[in-house]
């Protein structure tokens, strides 16, 4: 069970600070006691074991203590970012058989009146430190005992490619990933980790929160609005040693005019993930933080989430690679039918095997995520392996489109455009021409500050590195690329 991480750390690091949140410090003993107290209250309230319990709050100490309490009680954690409407929350409760919602008044706005209006089937409890109190209880709350005894978490896919799905992860899934990440990060009790992404993501839960607490580190979180300067302030004030970020946030810090006002000398690791980083930005980050070990990792929630990682020296040597698989995980390249391809440098669908592979999607009886072996997860990403066993992710299968009968991977073209001096980032969009139905490739490009690049220069640059049919029809300079709330670039209009 995941809660054994807290139990072990409470025994080993009792008086050390486990969590720092906006000036408040909580030791391992205090965190353990809070979680224990909450677990006892679930029992007193008669919450059936195996219930699906939604944690509807942004990052705070209570989220973490509730997470361990629910797990220790043998129930299922469903974290939800508190920026959704009450209608949507009610629908989630119905679809995922959520019997209880736990919220924190100060950081999540919940309207009991609206929930009643939508006939929400879950009870609502408010948590403050180590006690919970009932805010709303429907006539007959639904408590669904889980079908799988080892089910620990249901997380939602980011929904960039359609309706979000509920990804079921077991205790075993999570624990195996936590231990493998811990092995390559090599953390110690002196480390202070900064977590800014929402705790509703697998990467935050597994790769940051649990890894920090397993190793006796101090985990820094905030309930405040996250900005590049607030991140820089926390790094400076708290002497952060390990910072986790998606490249878009790193870029915002890098290019912020306020950056030079802060001290980043305490940092020893920057771990980034979630989206590819351009070679240009990678070199910029390396130049700005030469003393820091940059680690990139590739993964997906369905794999709990880390699959591969690559440290700085390899990142600079194997440009564009996502690294080698983490412990106990195997990466396979497959053809369209899900058959494994053994050749190197041949692009195909990326498959993942190992203890982190999810139990499945909640209430979806689907086998289309599996390859020719039941244990093989098809990621939906395209890539290839080199002769040394390094993975190269080419793009998403969903992003691929056909132009003049040929497959176009937008990421390949974006990589070439972004490699041109003065280009910060780019996205290639396929627009349909109204009358003919033919595809028109439009590259939206963001230049660095004070850089002047012409469309002709970029087209000529593309002509050097790309086949004729891959050259964009139009280059549009924009101030920034459109992103979803998770920071991922939106590829489709509307």
């Amino acid at each position: 069970m995941i809660h054994t991480i807290l139990l072990e750390s409470f025994r080993k690091y009792s008086d050390l600070v486990a969590i720092h949140c906006d000036g408040k410090e909580v030791t391992y003993t205090e965190l353990y006691n809070q979680a224990e107290s909450l677990t006892c209250q679930f029992s007193d309230l008669g919450v059936p074991k195996g219930s699906h319990i939604c944690l509807f709050m942004s990052n705070c100490v209570e989220f973490i203590s509730c997470f361990f309490a629910v797990n220790a009680y043998g129930s299922v954690v469903i974290p939800v970012q508190p920026n959704i409407s009450m209608k949507k929350l009610s629908e989630l409760c119905q679809a995922y058989h959520i019997g209880m919602i736990i919220t924190k008044g100060s950081n999540a706005k919940i309207s009991v009146e609206e929930l009643k209006e939508y006939h929400c089937s879950a009870s609502v409890y408010e948590v403050l430190e180590n006690s919970i109190s009932c805010k709303y209880s429907p006539y007959r709350p639904i408590h669904s005992g889980s079908l799988n005894n080892d089910l620990a978490l249901i997380l939602f896919s980011s929904g960039t490619t359609g309706r979000p799905k509920g990804i079921m992860l077991s205790n075993k899934n999570i624990l195996s990933n936590v231990r493998a990440i811990s092995e390559y990060l090599q953390l110690n009790q002196k480390d202070r980790l900064l977590l800014v992404k929402s705790l509703s993501h697998a990467s935050s839960i597994t790769g940051e929160m649990l890894v920090a607490l397993l190793n006796g580190c101090e985990l820094c979180i905030t309930e405040k609005v996250i900005t590049p300067s607030s991140i820089s302030q926390i790094i400076t004030k708290q002497s952060i040693t390990v910072f986790f970020a998606v490249p878009s946030i790193l870029n915002m810090i890098m290019y912020s005019r306020q950056r030079l006002k802060f001290d980043f000398s305490s940092l020893r690791i920057i771990h980034f993930y979630g989206e590819p980083i351009s070679e240009h930005n990678l070199l910029e980050i390396d130049r700005s933080f030469p003393h820091v070990n940059l680690i990139y990792s590739y993964g997906l929630t369905e794999a709990s989430p880390r699959v591969t990682y690559i440290p700085k020296e390899e990142l600079l040597r194997k440009r564009g690679s996502s690294g080698k698989p983490i412990r106990d995980v195997q990466v396979r390249i497959m053809d369209e039918e899900g058959k494994i391809r053994e050749q190197v440098h041949v692009t195909g669908l990326i498959g993942v095997e190992g203890p982190g592979v999810m139990l499945g999607y909640y209430n979806v009886n689907s086998t289309d995520q599996r390859g020719d072996r039941a244990s093989l997860l098809i990621t939906g990403d395209l890539g290839y392996m080199d002769e040394e066993g390094y993975l190269y992710v080419v793009g998403r299968k969903d992003n691929m489109f056909t132009y003049m009968g040929k497959n176009i991977h937008p990421e390949e073209i974006e990589k070439i455009i972004t490699a041109y001096p003065g280009i910060k980032e780019s996205v290639l969009k396929a627009e349909e021409r109204n009358q003919t139905g033919a595809i028109r490739m439009v590259a939206e490009v963001v230049c660095e500050n004070r850089t002047e690049v012409t469309k002709i220069e970029l087209i000529n640059h593309c002509k050097i590195y790309l086949e004729d049919y891959k050259i964009p029809h139009e280059i549009v300079f924009v101030d920034e690329l459109e992103r979803n709330p998770n920071g991922k670039i939106l590829r489709k209009k509307g």
Binding site: N83, K224, V225, I226, Q233, Q258, N486
Partner: protein
């Protein structure tokens, strides 16, 4: 002709919003519900404000309530600029 803080702030908000429609600032506008601001957009908005007025909001000042509506935002920026001028 110089423009007022309110007008320049309105322009920054509009540049960062999702809406292409005409926005009337004749009542208090809620940034998430009226203009579609999500956490990334809010982050970008605050960064643009910091760059435009050469400010850095202290972490203690970054309460969501201070940035969630235009009136609250204007008040926050006005106070910050005033404090900067006094120091």
């Amino acid at each position: 002709m110089s423009i007022s803080l309110k007008e320049s702030l309105q322009q920054i908000v509009l540049n960062n919003s999702k809406t292409s429609e005409l926005v009337r600032f004749d009542h208090d506008i809620n940034l998430p519900t009226d203009l579609g601001f999500d956490s990334i957009m809010l982050m970008k908005l605050i960064t643009d404000i910091e760059n435009e007025y050469d400010l850095v909001f202290d972490i203690e000042e970054l309460e969501f309530e201070r940035f969630c509506s235009f009136d609250a935002l204007l008040h926050t920026v006005q106070s910050k600029i005033q404090r900067k001028g006094e120091s």
